[in-house]
Amino acid sequence: MRIGVFICHCGSNIAGTVDVRAVAQAAKGFADVVYASDTMYACSEPGQEGIIQAVREHNLDGVVVASCTPRMHEPTFRRTVERAGLNRYCFEMANIREHVSWIGKDTERNTIKATELVRMAVEKLRRNRPLTPKRFDVTKRVLVVGGGVAGIQAALDCAEGGQEVVLVEREQSIGGKMAKLDKTFPTIDCSSCVLGPKMVDVAQHPKITLHTMAEVESVSGYVGNFQVTIRKKARFVDWEKCTGCGLCMEKCPSRKAPDPFNEYLCTAPTINIPFPQAIPKKAAINPETCIMKQKGKCGLCAKICPVKCIDFDQQDELVTVDVGAIVVATGYDLFDWHKYPQYGQGRYPDVITSLQYERLLSASGPTGGHIKRPSDGKEPKTVVFIQCVGSRDRSVDRPYCSGFCCMYTAKQAILTKDHIPDSQSYVFYMDIRSPGKAYDEFTRRAMEEYGAQYVRGRVAMIYPKGDQLIVRGADTLAGTQVEVAADLVVLAVGVEAARGAAVLGEKLRVVPDQYGFFVESHPKLRPVETNTAGVFLAGACQGPKDIPASVAQGSAAAAKVLALLVKDQLESDPQVSRVTPARCVGCGKCVQTCPFGAIKLVEDRFGNPKAEVVETVCQGCGICTVTCPQGAIQLEHFTDNQILAEVQALCPPRIRVNYAS
């Protein structure tokens, strides 16, 4: 080979603690290196031009750049060498910034280390092979997982962009958390009035296929070609026929079914439509409380249903769809506040969550929009709001801020005053966080116009006294203890990743962070991408978000999907495994261990079984290469020989080359 080596100063980032000229000088002595120089900023326009010039002048067929991490600029320089007429895989990088100059100040040692890393890169490059990507067709359909506001937005935008959309929602209706809200901050507009039309659009859009009461069962494939199996849970009602008339709901004799939509504040009929604006507006039977399902008799709903859509024998159904991209919008769930001993751990019925309070405020809620406390239905006159329940608290492993609780607490204080003009609200808070457009003004209104008493401090305990709850806490501004006799306590419970997110993440190969929120590709520059190509994030599944942010991310994810699916074909990464059939004994160990099903056994012309890699399915992990004892399957660009060459460059065997005396 004819290799050129370029040592980047990165201004003073590298040159400050590495003698880059000495590294370049040393590189000139390395095997196959015919050109070596230092360059101020290799990634800059003149830097890249310098590389291209050198390739032409010195007839180079391989390039090593020693600069920053390949995770940053490997794609950049690959394009550079390609522009210079080389194959983009005839290129290696040595990371002498993040791994050398930035972590040590000893110039002498850094220089030696950088030189060795360059030598390693040269030795690897000497064994590189030009690789050519394969092209493959893209399935023009997108799967959106989660029908909250983020998922709805993503689905609508994708559909408007002309792509087919499959929207999967776990609950009976789409709408997510937003559908449960009464009003939204800072405009106090009606949540269902804003969301409802969008939900209807989803139902009516010709490009959107909606599956509710459904979950993603399994995912295989890769960007452009995912195969997704969806489990549609038995609902015991034929939704093709159900008109959503609600007659069955009225007549159902079993009315003690849990009502998750109303946050379990009340019960629901066993055959139920969760709320009037539900999409799809179809009834479903809860088999746990259904007399027919449990005892084998009743069937009242079946008798009265005008369209005869009740089907007690319905089973779960598996639906398989091919999609080219996936948007994950699984949202959030509330932190389990029962972990806190100070709030009674559920002993006091009048300590409720903020989301339960939303249901009490909502006209479609169990109280018809009248605030009645759960214990005795009395209208509370003194309402205490406690913020940061499960947010910013290391003791329960929730050190992060849930972001929007300050705002909805202010909103709920305002609405309380609207509903019960002679009421008094108290808000225990740590800090007020209201950095959005018109947000801070909104919290001020709660205090100033609506008279909510904000107390800066934590609540130490709640205990009952008569029919009231004594809330005892600290007022850190006044430096005193405070006690409020409350009729109702509302906890502004923090958010966490939706239950089941981890399981879904494993199926999609999207990694959750330590709190279960999915990790984006880059926190600043690639906020809706994941490290799995073709899988995008929208909404609170990536981290706590309020409605505008969730909607924005839904649209952003849709833009990414549309940019992907506008292509008819994609290029596959050629850094995949390759079989040398002559060495393969057909034992199938690689087939057994491949996590992607990318290897299959085929017969050669003599009828011997041989492994074969499906290049577009192979993800390039290299598990197979280690599994194969005879080295018959090698991961391109990370072959045994290349890694061994790096090892040998670092630990040269102590062979005496010259035996002459």
């Binding site: 002595g29 095997a31 040269p652 062979i655 035996y659 002459a660």
Partner: protein, 341 residues
């Protein structure tokens, strides 16, 4: 010339010889006896035939041929032949078959081509072989031209007698060694030595007559079934060839160490699939049947045909004794000879 070496002086002799040059001797080690470069403190073991052969003295398993070095920016590397340094090398305590074995190399390395590495080692080597007093079940030296007191390739014959060895020089170089002070007058022991040799010769089992082997083996060349049956139990390892005093096939590889590289010559093994694997992927000897045919026929047919009837086998029996599955080269040659009646 006959001299006497007391058994008790053997170690002293080895110690002394090792002062002035390398000594290769059978050393007891880990339950095994193998040829080692002798250093004081090692235990020379002559009662058992060593597992390995003494061929390292003339044809070491690894022979560095060239050293290549790149220095600084010089793009033209320096290349230098790495010939073994000149130094008298004594093989102390091999058997006559072991000394005879290397004679097979001569026509190969010093015939049409002149191999300077072998030439130098051969010139510098001096073989002091111990006469065998009793044959093992695997011994057949007399069938291939040798014998328990054979002198071909031997410089000094060590004949076991009461209390030590009668050292009988065969060559001038051998005679020079016998001038060493540790050797005493042989005197009447010479006669005792002659008797030992006579008895040893008499103890040998009946000879095989391998004279028809070259043509009979060639006749079986295309007999796939014959070779498949003969090789059925062969496991294609290299124990036979690597133990063999006469196997001389080698491999040449370059070790690229980046800034330095070198070319080495190492023993190769015709029982290996890779031995004849061609760059194209084609292999003219794809099965162990092909390969065993080659090994046997090379020794008993092809070599003698080219080199005036000399069988390329010294009859030491190591290949039989150390074969993990007991492949018996004698039996294969006999089977070819007796084939079809």
């Amino acid at each position: 010339m006959d001299r006497f070496l007391a058994a008790s002086q053997l170690t002293a002799l080895a110690d002394d010889l090792a002062q002035t040059g390398p000594v290769l001797a059978p050393i007891a080690e880990g339950g095994s006896v193998v040829f080692r470069w002798y250093r004081p403190g090692m235990r020379i073991e002559l009662s058992r035939m060593a597992s390995t052969s003494p061929k390292a003295a003339t044809f070491p398993q690894t022979e560095p041929l060239l050293a290549v070095r790149r220095e600084g920016e010089a793009k033209t590397p320096t290349v230098e032949a790495t010939l073994p340094p000149r130094s008298r090398t004594v093989v102390l305590g091999c058997r006559p078959c072991g000394a005879r074995g290397k004679e097979i190399f001569g026509p190969v390395f010093l015939g049409g081509v002149h191999d300077p590495y072998f030439a130098r080692r051969r010139e510098d080597a001096l073989f002091m072989a111990v006469v065998c007093t009793r044959p093992e079940t695997t011994c057949f030296c007399t069938s291939v031209g040798g014998g328990p007191a054979d002198t071909v390739g031997v410089d000094v014959l060590l004949i076991p007698v009461e209390g030590g060895f009668v050292a009988r020089s065969v060559t001038a170089a051998g005679e020079k060694v016998l001038a060493h002070a540790l050797f005493a007058e042989a005197g009447a022991r010479s006669a005792e030595a002659d008797a030992v040799i006579a008895k040893a010769n008499a103890a040998m089992p009946p000879q095989d007559d391998f004279r028809t082997a070259p043509e009979k083996l060639l006749a079986r060349f295309d007999d796939k079934d014959f070779w498949e049956r003969q090789s059925a139990k062969c496991i294609s390892c290299g124990a036979c060839t690597y133990m063999c005093p006469t196997c001389y096939c080698f491999n040449i590889t370059d070790d690229d160490l980046g800034l330095e590289s070198r070319r080495i010559r190492t023993w190769d093994n015709c029982m290996s699939y890779l031995f004849t694997l061609e760059g194209s992927g084609h292999n003219p000897r794809p099965t162990k049947a092909h390969r065993l045919k080659n090994r046997v026929s090379h020794k008993f047919s092809y070599y003698p045909t080219i080199h005036s009837g000399t069988i390329a086998c010294c009859g030491c029996g190591r290949c039989i004794k150390h074969c993990p599955v007991g492949v018996d080269i004698r039996a294969i040659v006999r089977a070819a000879q007796e084939y079809g009646g």
